[in-house]
């Protein structure tokens, strides 16, 4: 055992027992587990085919039913949220931040227990933590989520830009020494031994070169601003169907920006670019085939219909701001009309 790992072990033990005046067996983590379990939810949505699980995890961040979770294909349909007491809710996606792979859902409820997303970056390597998630979809109905224990092995950045880990996230992550990031665990809560939120379990990531699965979480401090903005309603992302549409000859369209999308064959076909028209604003902005359009002027695009509808609300003389995903990168793109 290296000196460093001995230190880590001691720190863990010290943390768990430092406050005890009696020296009996290791105290149960039951109260912290219970605290966290009551704030972690089960999320069901799209998937269920070709090895894609139709479920993931999330956690409450407001008493009114805001749920933070990982942004993933599961949210391609309006998801269902099940609380630890078994109550089921249809949820709406009220915000997402592609660069954090974070989404915030809202259910119609009140007086729920919730996590405060703290600003101070308290998580350090060596800290003991609990990971609470519905990995493998084990819990159903009123069964509480699964609890696992371990510690933060490192706080570091992922080697993501070179494609080792396919994630748009570029900030610091908490590397965990437990096998926390299983199917369905994404969006689960990582808490300290007091039950306070430390981070959010990320989607499954595998090192493209070694095949090793990564166990990690996004630190709460990285999520705080975005979650706070969404809670405060500062980022109205949902496409408002009541927003006045402009006349067709006054508004933007796929033609005015210069893209051809992949064939729209599904109820909500993802907004993938199939072709870029020569000489168009899209070409000038270097948009490419296979780019996925995520946001248009800050509005979330959940399919080609919402893309067309949103363009109809924008004057064709105005610039259009896109957020796109290209491979595992999230990029801003400005389409200027000349």
């Amino acid at each position: 055992m290296t000196r460093r790992s001995i230190t880590v072990c001691c720190v863990i033990l010290g943390t768990l027992f430092g406050g005890l005046s009696f020296a009996n067996a290791q105290p149960s983590l039951e109260s912290a587990a219970e605290h966290a379990q009551s704030r972690v939810v089960k999320i069901y949505g799209a998937g269920g085919i070709s090895g894609l699980e139709a479920y993931q995890s999330g956690f409450l961040v407001s008493p009114e039913g805001h749920v933070a979770t990982a942004w993933s294909y599961v949210l391609d349909v309006d998801p269902t949220v099940v609380l630890d007491d078994g109550r089921r809710f249809d949820a709406k996606i009220v915000g997402f931040e592609p660069s954090l792979a974070l989404a915030v859902l809202k259910i119609e409820a009140s007086e729920l227990p919730f996590f405060r997303v703290e600003e101070k970056a308290s998580a350090q390597w060596g800290d003991p933590i609990l990971a609470v998630s519905n990995l493998f979809g084990i819990a159903t109905g009123r069964e509480p989520a699964s609890v696992m224990q371990g510690c933060i092995a490192a706080v570091t950045k992922l080697d993501a830009r070179r494609g080792t880990f396919k994630t748009p996230y570029r900030g610091s992550v908490l590397i965990l020494d437990l096998i926390a990031n299983n199917p369905g665990a994404a969006g689960g809560a990582v808490v300290d031994v007091n039950g306070n939120l430390v981070g959010m379990l990320g989607k499954e990531l595998r090192d493209a070169s070694t095949g090793v699965w990564l166990n990690y979480a996004l630190p709460a401090s990285a999520l705080r601003t975005t979650i706070g903005d969404i809670l405060a309603g500062r980022v109205p992302q949902a496409v408002n169907s009541n927003e006045p549409k402009l006349a067709r000859d006054k508004a933007h369209s796929l033609v005015t920006i210069g893209v051809v999308m992949v064939p729209d064959v599904l109820e909500s076909t993802p907004a993938y670019v199939d072709e870029v028209i020569v000489g168009s604003p899209a070409e000038r902005a270097n948009l490419r085939p296979d780019d996925l359009i995520l946001l248009v002027n800050g509005r979330r695009i959940d399919g080609q219909r919402s893309l067309r509808d949103t363009l109809r609300t924008i004057d064709r003389r105005d610039q259009v701001e896109l957020t796109i995903q290209r491979d595992s990168e999230i990029l801003p793109v400005s389409l200027r009309v000349e």
Binding site: G19, Q26, N194
Partner: protein, 615 residues
């Protein structure tokens, strides 16, 4: 927020800062804080307490293995059915004391994935202290000790430490048979080979038997999710497993669904089920089963699936505003044929023998010759290695994994039956003459002999002559239903289980829904099936149930004794059908006499009698 938590966590957070500063910067040898050292000592002590009961199971002939755990000083140990089944009847078991013991299969529960085996050669085996797994909670520390990857060929088991990730978990049947209900989920590493082994709590008490793990795309290694059969489920099945039978799980005979407005409602019910006879109907709301409150359909399944078939448990339900507390006999999930067939299907294929590639051996002629003379031919029958003294402890029979242990239980039963009132020293027919009074003061006289069964109660006289008469009396729920019960008892005493009719030890079950679990002997008397339920400590028979039509209520003869008068006979007998008492008789005298002449002997026999009223 931290105010919601015990102060110790606050202190713990402070301690973290201090320790981190002190220790990262510290020079020289590392010194543990006393509190840390003390916790570490406690953990070591718990492991030392637990580990001697851990069993490393090896299948003879190198065909795999797993883990197990000793639960009694005479060598009974639990493991998984899927660990014992490749071995068949015999296995070799190592303990951490460095010794290897022969072991023989006792009983198996293929649905619950449990098997009871018996290690041989000692009567002072170390054994695990059993915890109450209902008290366990997510977040509790726990440890798994066993034989992962069969690493413990040096008889040093592997310890992995973690917490309970969830309790009361339900895992759907894998394949067609295995069902894990009300099980424990842990993040302590569980790998292939840990199967069948113990999961202990932080004090080293046995919480459950490790069963399976979630293995998906990451290969057959731990991914942080392992499951254990709760020790409380194992406790329910221990008596059944001791019977040497292939045992089945219970079903209510009804399906239930969680209602949208909450609560569990019956969505379908078999009219042949006891639950239906007790008034449970479609849309009735189930409130409690076996003393446990249920909220969801999963809760119901979590309870029922951890009970053996044939148990009679308490049921509380609400129907049209009326709350009914009753008892319900649980049915088998499978018919016996179906269970045996599915079990055969669930058995793993014989393990592949390592066949040496002849190409490789060309360069090693000497080795090749040696190996041909020795081991290279796969052994056809691993039981050749089994000593005869061990083989003598196994007897194959259809429906049993080891009939030998059932016979042991039968002979214990008849021995204790013969020692209790009305005791009978030598086999042979006797006549019982029982006199007493009903609650309303009517005289009752009962005569039970090989020749005649008769009963006079007040103005009523019954004298069934044929077995068909007895059958009809039970079917019609008449007072004569107590005659076949008494006669079965008398005949069992006279003839013993071998001559009585097909007799076997069923296991242990509640009596009238109450613990302690009673030993149950089941004996077939022509069309009638008789069950004797005896107290586990005093071994006194407390109830005799006689079933005619299996889809109707049996006649139940309850034997009521005065407290502390265990040597005496019953002070009263009570005939019940369903949950109702039909006839209760306070006993005035209970005489046994050897059948017919000579009369002198009759007198001497009577002299031996202890009239039960002699207080």
């Amino acid at each position: 927020m931290s105010r919601e938590f015990p102060v110790r966590w606050l202190c713990a957070a402070i301690a973290l800062g201090l320790f981190a500063n002190n220790w990262v910067a510290a020079d020289g040898p590392l010194k543990l804080e006393p509190i840390v050292a003390s916790v570490e000592q406690d953990r070591i002590a718990a492991i030392e307490h637990a580990m001697p009961s851990t069993v490393m199971v090896f299948v003879p002939g190198g065909a795999g293995g797993g883990s197990g755990v000793l639960i009694s000083p005479d060598g009974y140990a639990l493991t998984n059915f899927h660990v014992s089944s490749p071995a068949g009847s015999f296995m070799r078991c190592g303990l951490s004391d460095g010794n290897i013991y022969d072991a023989v299969i006792v009983g198996v529960d293929p649905v619950g994935d449990l098997a009871l085996i018996k290690l041989l050669g000692r009567d002072d085996f170390p054994y695990a202290e059993l915890a109450d797994s209902r008290l366990a909670a997510a977040g509790d520390w726990c440890m798994v000790i066993g034989n992962p990857f069969l690493l413990a060929s040096n008889l040093k088991p592997t310890v992995t430490w973690g917490i309970l990730s969830g309790v009361g978990r339900y895992q759907y049947p894998s394949g067609t048979l295995l069902e894990y209900a009300d099980c424990l989920q842990t993040d302590a590493s569980i790998n292939p080979g840990n199967s069948g082994g113990p999961i202990y709590d932080a004090q080293g008490r046995l919480l459950g038997v490790v069963g399976r793990a979630s293995f998906e795309k990451r290969g057959r290694v731990n991914v942080g999710v392992g499951y254990a059969i709760s020790i409380n489920q194992a406790k329910n099945f221990l008596g059944y497993l001791h019977s040497g039978r292939i045992v089945d799980h219970a079903t209510l005979g009804a399906t239930v669904a969680t209602a949208p407005e909450g609560g569990v409602r019956v969505s379908n019910i078999l009219e042949t089920s006891d639950a239906f006879r007790r008034g449970l109907t479609y849309s009735a709301e189930i409130l409690e089963i076996d003393g446990r409150i249920v909220h969801t359909a999963n809760d119901v399944q979590n309870i029922i699936a951890t009970l053996p078939s044939g148990w009679r448990v308490k049921l509380v339900y609400r129907n049209e505003g009326e709350t009914v507390e009753t008892l319900v006999r649980l049915m088998s999930v499978h018919r016996q044929d179906e269970l045996l067939e599915k079990m055969a299907g669930a058995m793993p294929p014989p393990p592949p023998r390592e066949m040496k590639d002849p190409q490789d051996e060309d360069d090693e002629d000497r080795d090749k010759e040696e190996s041909e003379g020795g081991d290279s031919v796969p052994q056809q029958d691993a039981s050749k290695e089994v000593p005869n003294s061990v083989k003598a402890l196994h007897e194959a029979r259809r429906g049993f994994s080891n009939y030998h242990f059932n016979e042991l239980a039968q002979s214990n039963f008849i021995d204790s039956l013969r020692q209790q009132f009305p005791s009978q020293d030598s086999p042979g027919p006797v006549t019982w003459t029982i006199k007493g009074k009903t609650a309303d003061g009517q005289d009752v006289a009962i005569r039970v002999s090989d020749e005649r069964l008769s009963m006079v109660a007040g103005a009523i006289t019954v004298e069934p002559e044929t077995n068909a008469d007895l059958y009809d009396n039970i079917d019609d729920e008449t007072i004569a239903g107590l005659l076949p019960a008494l006669d079965a008892w008398r005949r069992m005493l006279a003839q013993g289980p071998k001559q009585f009719g097909e007799t076997s030890y069923l296991g242990t079950m509640p009596l009238g829904g109450e613990r302690p679990l009673r030993d149950c002997i089941i004996a077939n008397d022509g069309e009638l099936e008789v069950r004797f339920l005896s107290h586990p400590q005093s071994h006194l028979v407390e109830a005799i149930e006689v079933f005619a039509d299996r889809d109707r209520d049996p006649a139940e003869l309850w034997l009521i004794r005065r407290p502390n008068a265990t040597d005496a006979g019953p002070s009263a007998i009570d005939l019940r059908y369903g949950t109702e008492s039909l006839l209760r008789i306070d006993i005035d005298s209970w005489q046994t006499s050897a059948d017919e002449q000579p009369t002198e002997e009759q007198h001497s026999k009577q002299a031996d009698l202890e009239p039960e009223n002699a207080e």
